[in-house]
């Protein structure tokens, strides 16, 4: 009855692009490569829009089965796609933002020697990401899950001649693997207990189950393990460490993968499995706590970072924390909403940052920037829009989504809310810090020296631009900026919460996904045990007046926090720029800690990496393998040879000795025979 959408075409398009560019790109011109890349990613976007257009006519969830993938006994995993509101949103975001970033990248990477490789990777990423969001079962999702990991590995290490880039890529992949480990175990649990990985079957089997109020249980275990996976992919504590390093990749990559799409896969996966989480309050709590902590923690680090991209990276981590916070309190739609808006403004911010870096010739240290406002107006204005949006200035996308999350968080527990609020303040502070440092006051970089060519080969290689001077980026880069800016300004209006006179269309749209299966009492307990003052199922309309008013109040508070952040940034980085150093000096301890990101990398290094390597080398390889096993074997051999050497001395060469042996031997034989005669008889 459903019209055939041929969803498979959507991911396959970029795959084809990747293949073509990968195999032929080397020999074909940049234009050709560009054409292919844009054509196929654009096609994917177009088809996504097509799907959206025909969406209303579908009976949801809409599923497509293509082929059996694995069959082992009764267990089967198929190539199957699954489309509902949630995946539609993701689909649009991924294809849309992805397409824009493709366009941007054309300009940004134009001079790179292995241009084709870049786009081939980028398309490959699109393929895996789309597979992830369209997956009809956890295993196909896992394909995308690992695939995007691969793509990010390749793209982070795109400038592989630079060791830091290569290491960053490896780090990303391995940390993700640790997450995937959890994910896999969760899958095994699902197989063991539900015999399938199909969303339909699994959820169908889970829905009748009661909530595990008692705490730990099968679903809890599954939930937590899934969360481990999400932590890896979405850079949450404790597995966030790879994301900042991932900034070694080209900026478009950071924008697409490490801001807009891939890192949000975790959020998507958690919301996709909300059925399980809703029945595992403990797991939900874990999610919430991890999210909140990450949000705050990453934000604090963001304060002191001087690398423009790293600031954005930490802010991404912190924003993802928001999303998990939302999921953790059961506000999945809010999480997804923030995911979308975040995709817009964070993508925008990264692209803009890229454009800045591009402008100043590869410089990423904000202390060497400044006063760029006039030189690159387009970038400036778009960036401003993004900054305002993320800072949560009313009326922009970020405002609505973040506000929604905070409100729902408060409903769950004031602690979440408080931390969230502080985070919001810090966020706006470091964003405006970035903003001021980059665009205001005088230019601090050595003006033209930024262009000693090839000096920063490997880093965004814009030494390669033959021309000098700080310059606005080409159209092809500016247009996406503008579009994204518009989106991040207006994107929020799809989900204006009721309290602000809107009626949260976004939430309603997603409603069927998240409420279709919600069980009220679970919600009650889920929130109840978190001592929420208000107990109501999410998005239940119309809100009571008091609720609306309190919500308004909270909104006001968060806006206040944002403004406060702006003010502080203005004070420190525009008004009296010498202050920061003073402050830093005065509380150097804290400052150093922040600057070194709480020494987490060092900690991990000391805790896991080094012991592992040394242990394996000294104890296992040199010890067990060489000294114990091999030594034993060789000693056995030598021992035998030694024995043999000894035994040879029986062969003294002296006839009388030989006769002696014979005599003794015969005596033995005779004795034995006589004994046998006496004995057995």
């Amino acid at each position: 009855m459903n019209p055939m959408l041929n969803l498979w075409l959507i991911p396959v398009m970029p795959l084809a692009g990747a293949a073509i560019n990968g195999f032929l790109g080397k020999r074909s011109s940049r234009q050709a490569v560009t054409a292919v890349a844009l054509l196929f990613s654009g096609a994917a976007f177009a088809m996504a829009l097509l799907v959206a257009a025909r969406f209303s006519s579908l009976s949801l969830p809409y599923q497509e089965f293509f082929a059996h993938w694995i069959r082992s006994g009764t267990f089967t995993a198929d190539f199957a796609f699954y489309l509902d509101q949630l995946s539609l949103v993701m689909l649009l975001v991924v294809t849309g933002v992805g397409f824009l970033i493709h366009i941007y990248a054309v300009g940004y990477m134009w001079d790179d020697p292995s241009y084709y490789r870049f786009f081939s990777y980028l398309n490959l990423f699109m393929f895996f990401m789309l597979t992830l969001v369209l997956a009809g079962n956890y295993l196909v999702m896992f394909i995308g899950w690992e695939g995007v990991g691969l793509a990010s590995y390749l793209l982070i290490g795109f400038w592989f001649t630079k060791d830091s880039a290569a290491s960053a890529g490896k780090k990303a992949f391995i940390v993700n693997r640790i997450g995937d480990f959890g994910f896999l175990i969760a899958l095994f649990l699902l197989i063991k207990h539900f015999g399938s990985l199909n969303f339909q079957q699994v959820f169908g089997a889970v829905i009748p189950l009661p909530a595990e109020t008692a705490g730990a249980g099968l679903l809890t275990a599954i939930g937590i393990l899934l969360m481990v996976g999400a932590c890896g992919k979405s850079a949450q504590i404790p597995l966030y460490v790879w994301l900042p390093d991932a900034m070694e990749g080209p900026t478009p990559v950071s924008a697409l993968i490490h801001a807009a799409t891939m890192v949000t896969a975790g959020v998507y996966m958690v919301s996709r499995s909300h059925v399980i989480f809703e029945r595992a309050p403990v797991a939900l709590t874990v999610v919430a706590i991890i999210g909140t902590l990450t949000a705050f923690f990453a934000a604090t680090i963001g304060i002191v970072q001087t690398d423009i991209k790293r600031v954005l990276a930490y802010s991404t981590v912190s924003q993802l924390g928001y999303m998990f916070m939302a999921c953790g309190v059961g506000a999945f739609s809010a999480g997804i909403f923030h995911l979308m808006t975040h995709a817009f403004f964070k993508g925008l911010l990264f692209l803009a940052a890229g454009s800045v870096i591009h402008a100043v010739g590869g410089e990423q240290d904000m202390r060497k920037m400044g006063g760029l406002r006039a030189k690159i107006p387009w970038t400036f204005w778009t960036m401003t829009a993004g900054t305002l949006a993320i800072a949560g200035i009313p009326g922009l996308a970020g405002f609505f989504s973040k506000d929604e999350i905070l409100w729902r968080a408060y409903q769950a527990s004031w602690a979440y809310w408080l931390l969230g609020l502080v985070t919001a303040f810090i966020t706006s502070f470091y964003m405006f810090r970035l903003w001021f440092l980059t665009f205001f006051r005088e230019y601090r970089g050595e003006a033209e020296a930024g262009h000693d060519h090839g000096s920063h080969s490997g880093r965004d290689s814009h030494g390669a631009h033959g021309h000098s001077g700080i310059h606005e980026s080409p159209k092809v880069m500016v247009i996406p900026l503008v579009i994204l800016a518009v989106l991040s300004v207006l994107g929020g209006y799809v989900g204006v919460p009721g309290s602000l006179g809107g009626n949260n269309r976004f939430d309603k749209f997603l409603g069927p996904v998240f409420h279709g299966s919600t069980l009220v009492d679970a919600q009650h307990t889920a929130i109840g045990e978190k001592g929420a003052p208000e107990q109501e199922t999410e998005g239940s309309e119309p809100k009571t007046k008091t609720a609306a008013s309190t919500e308004l109040m909270f909104t006001a508070i968060s806006v206040l926090a944002a403004l406060l952040g702006f003010a502080l940034a203005w004070l420190l980085y525009f008004r009296s720029p010498e202050l920061p150093d003073k402050i830093a000096a005065s509380l150097s301890g804290g400052y150093q800690t922040l600057l070194h990101k709480y020494y987490i990398d060092e900690l991990y290094g000391a805790l896991f990496v080094k012991p592992l390597i040394d242990g394996s080398t000294r104890i296992l390889w040199q010890g067990v393998d060489r000294k114990i096993i091999d030594a034993t074997v060789n000693d056995a051999g030598d021992g035998l040879r030694h024995v043999s050497d000894e035994a040879r001395h029986m062969q003294s060469g002296n006839i009388r000795s030989y006769a002696g042996w014979i005599a003794a031997g015969s005596a033995a034989v005779i004795a034995f025979m006589i004994w046998m005669w006496t004995g057995p008889r």
Partner: protein, 172 residues
């Protein structure tokens, strides 16, 4: 204490004495002579056992031919008194005890087996005709085969004792 037994004891004593003397003597010639004594005494024992034929052969072939050959070789190689070299501890530490144990065991078995049933003198008629009967009829094949044995012995002796043509240097 029959006359028979006395004779046996005499011959036996000679045997034992000769055997021990063979071991005790340091010069091969003496050993050879004591061995001859042993053989002669044995011939006496054979007579006691009524094996005249064997006794005769013993004296003629063994004591006569073989031992003469020995003495001849001793002379030829003018073997002197053997020097007391410490060649082999094994022979003394392993071999001799083994020999003793084996000997004792066998002796024990012998006593155990055939208590004291006596062998009468002339117990069996070692009549030449009977012997011939056996030798040339029942044991015809072995008898013939011995000829090959002897042939080989002769050939071997010739081969080994004759000077190797290409080893002239080695002899002197």
């Amino acid at each position: 204490m029959s006359f028979h037994l006395i004779l046996f004891l005499i011959f036996g004593a000679v045997c034992v004495g000769g055997a021990i003397n063979l071991l005790a003597q340091r010069h091969p010639i003496n050993s050879a002579l004591s061995l001859i004594a042993v053989m002669a005494a044995l011939a006496g024992d054979y007579l006691l056992l009524g094996a005249e034929f064997v006794a005769a052969v013993q004296l003629i072939v063994y004591a006569g031919a073989i031992m003469v050959l020995f003495v001849f070789v001793i002379m030829l190689l003018n073997a002197g008194v053997e020097e007391e070299t410490k060649g082999s501890r094994v022979a003394i530490l392993v071999g001799v005890p083994g020999m003793l144990i084996g000997g004792v065991l066998v002796a024990w078995v012998v006593l155990l087996r055939s208590g004291t049933e006596a062998v009468p003198i002339g117990a069996l008629p070692g009549h030449p005709i009977d012997i011939a009967q056996l030798l040339f009829h029942d044991f015809l094949l072995p008898f013939e085969v011995t000829s090959i044995l002897i042939l080989i012995a002769i050939m071997g002796a010739v081969v080994l004792a004759s000077k190797p043509e290409s080893a002239a240097g080695k002899v002197e």
